[in-house]
């Protein structure tokens, strides 16, 4: 279970302070599929980065399974990201010098769990996202949608409990967007992975079972 309590993020721009998140609180149950929506600048990506432990909030707490992970050291947060969290960036964020297969198994190699053949698992995950024939291709040889699905497979390599996806379809055409979203839905249903994704497209609400709406850093609706 993921609990967020009174979360605020303040950016300092000289003497001016901008409140990107303002006293946001909510709870997400394991296995849920949540969409965070809001207009541009509403704070939805900022919220996802706090939840994904890529940034530190100014105030409030993020509690993962009764443990406050907000104040953990950078090293501990890194280990937590590696072991339990998967992050899918808006701009694919693949490593250019690695093939699709290598991109997927790299975090598995880092975790290095005994008895797990991370190379084999990476192949299986690429099959799962429909890219079994593209495993030796480099990111520049893949379409945007394919790259995003490689990124999803990479996020899954260490069997994460939660996947965070930051506008995963923002740079994709309609067909690719649909495929990526269906992949996330299928992972949520079949692998019971909690998925929290950000979108500005109201159409994407249909993929989620819960909705958080942000406006000017404040949570204005929760369904």
């Amino acid at each position: 279970m993921l609990q967020v309590k009174n979360l605020s993020k303040i950016y300092g721009l000289g003497d001016v302070q901008v409140k990107a998140l303002d006293d946001v609180s909510f709870t997400i149950a394991d296995g849920d599929m949540i969409c965070i929506m809001g207009k541009s600048g509403s704070g939805k990506s900022t919220l996802l980065r706090q939840l994904g432990l890529l940034d530190r909030p100014s105030e409030g707490a993020i509690i993962l399974d009764d443990e406050d992970v907000t104040r953990l050291s950078d090293t501990a947060r890194g280990i937590l990201r590696l072991q339990h969290l998967g992050y899918v960036f808006q701009e694919y964020a693949l490593l250019a010098e690695l093939t699709a297969h290598e991109n997927v198994y790299l975090p598995g190699m880092m975790l290095g769990e005994k008895g797990i053949d991370f190379r084999k698992r990476a192949k299986e995950l690429l099959e799962l996202v429909g890219l079994s024939k593209r495993i030796r291709h480099y990111p520049k040889e893949l379409s945007g949608g394919e790259q995003q699905r490689v990124a999803i497979a990479r996020a899954l390599i260490n069997n994460p409990r939660i996947i965070f996806a930051d506008e995963p379809c923002a740079n994709l055409d309609t067909i690719s967007s649909k495929r990526v979203m269906e992949t996330l839905v299928s992972l949520n249903k079949e692998m019971k992975v909690t998925v929290i994704f950000v979108s500005h497209d109201p159409e994407d609400k249909k993929y989620a079972r819960g909705l958080l709406v942000l406006s000017d850093g404040k949570m204005v609706a929760e369904e």
């Binding site: 940034d55 990201r81 964020a93 693949l94 010098e97």
Partner: protein, 401 residues
Amino acid sequence: MKSLKVAAFLALKSIVRGNVGVIVLTVFMLVLVTMNLLFVPGLINGATVSMNTILIRNYSGDIIIEPAGDDTVINHVDDLIAGIETIDGVVAASARNDINAYFEFEDERLGRVITGIDPNRDKQVFDIAGSLVEGSYLNSRDRDEVLLGIQIAGADQEDIELYSSSLRHVHAGDKLKVTYSSGLEKQYAVKGIFDTGFIQTDLQAFITDLEFESVMPNMNDKAGSIRVKLEDDADPNRVIERISGLRDDLDFQTWQQTAGLVQSMTESFTMINQILNVVNYLVAGITVFIVTYVDVINRRRQIGIQRAIGIKSQSITISYLMRALFYAIVGLIVGILVFKYVIIPVEARHPFEFPFGPAYLLTQPSYTARMASILLTVSLAAAFIPVWRVMRIKILDAIWG
């Protein structure tokens, strides 16, 4: 272990799939630095050995024996030399007697020292007989004949260092007048002229000990000094100890103690070498720093992504250090191989000519090992700084600037 494995994986991929031009250029720079780090000390080392060798073989011998205390001569020289030559490590010994004299030829007159030698013995200690440019070497029975260094004779070679203060036009077969400090005047035929390349030697003149005894009749079985040649691996101090056991009225000097000029040149060379080495290490460090700096700036976003997906900072840092090591190791290996199999053989065919003779590049494995370890350390330190700076940037700033 996992961090190292991931670091090695990232380093390998970035080398294999990185920009070939950048890798080749970086390695090329380090090859040049390596060759430069080997060349200058190799030349200085070669020049020093060449200087020392020429000093020993043409001027001092390995050990110089002189009379102790107020004595001006060593007595019973023949017995002493016979005793010295029985000592292990001694190749030969030669007695020498010096006397001041004036040389006159045509309008030129100059004062120098004439040395009386037993030509057969002296030839076993010194290489002067092999440096003749005119005429021939002395024989034991020669009288009224003199052997001249090129810096005394001149021999019409205007390019020699001391030509203007030489007799200028003397050649083998010419006759010149010698006035000894005792007032005795003699005519000598020039039997030969030698040019060893070592000025102090080339300012010497030799007559046979037979002739010397006619000039200084009281010098039979006496010598001003004895020069001893040792085998290459002989310990001079141990030989001196053994000779001291034969007689207690002798003073000893090793060749190093007579090599003041050579030593000061060697020290200056060493100083120049150290300064050049510091510059070379700086060039190597700056090269690796710039390459790594440009690389991490270009890959800042990629590094941010790696950290975001859980790759440990230490793995990323080590991967960059491995790359720097790769550049340095390849640069070192190629540089050392090119130096050993191309530069040294080419230089050996066309050696650098110094006033004391040719100098051949000479490297010592201990120096090469020390140079390699310093270069690797410098490369690692130079690569670490830019990576460490990028690792301090927040993940989000690294990814999105």
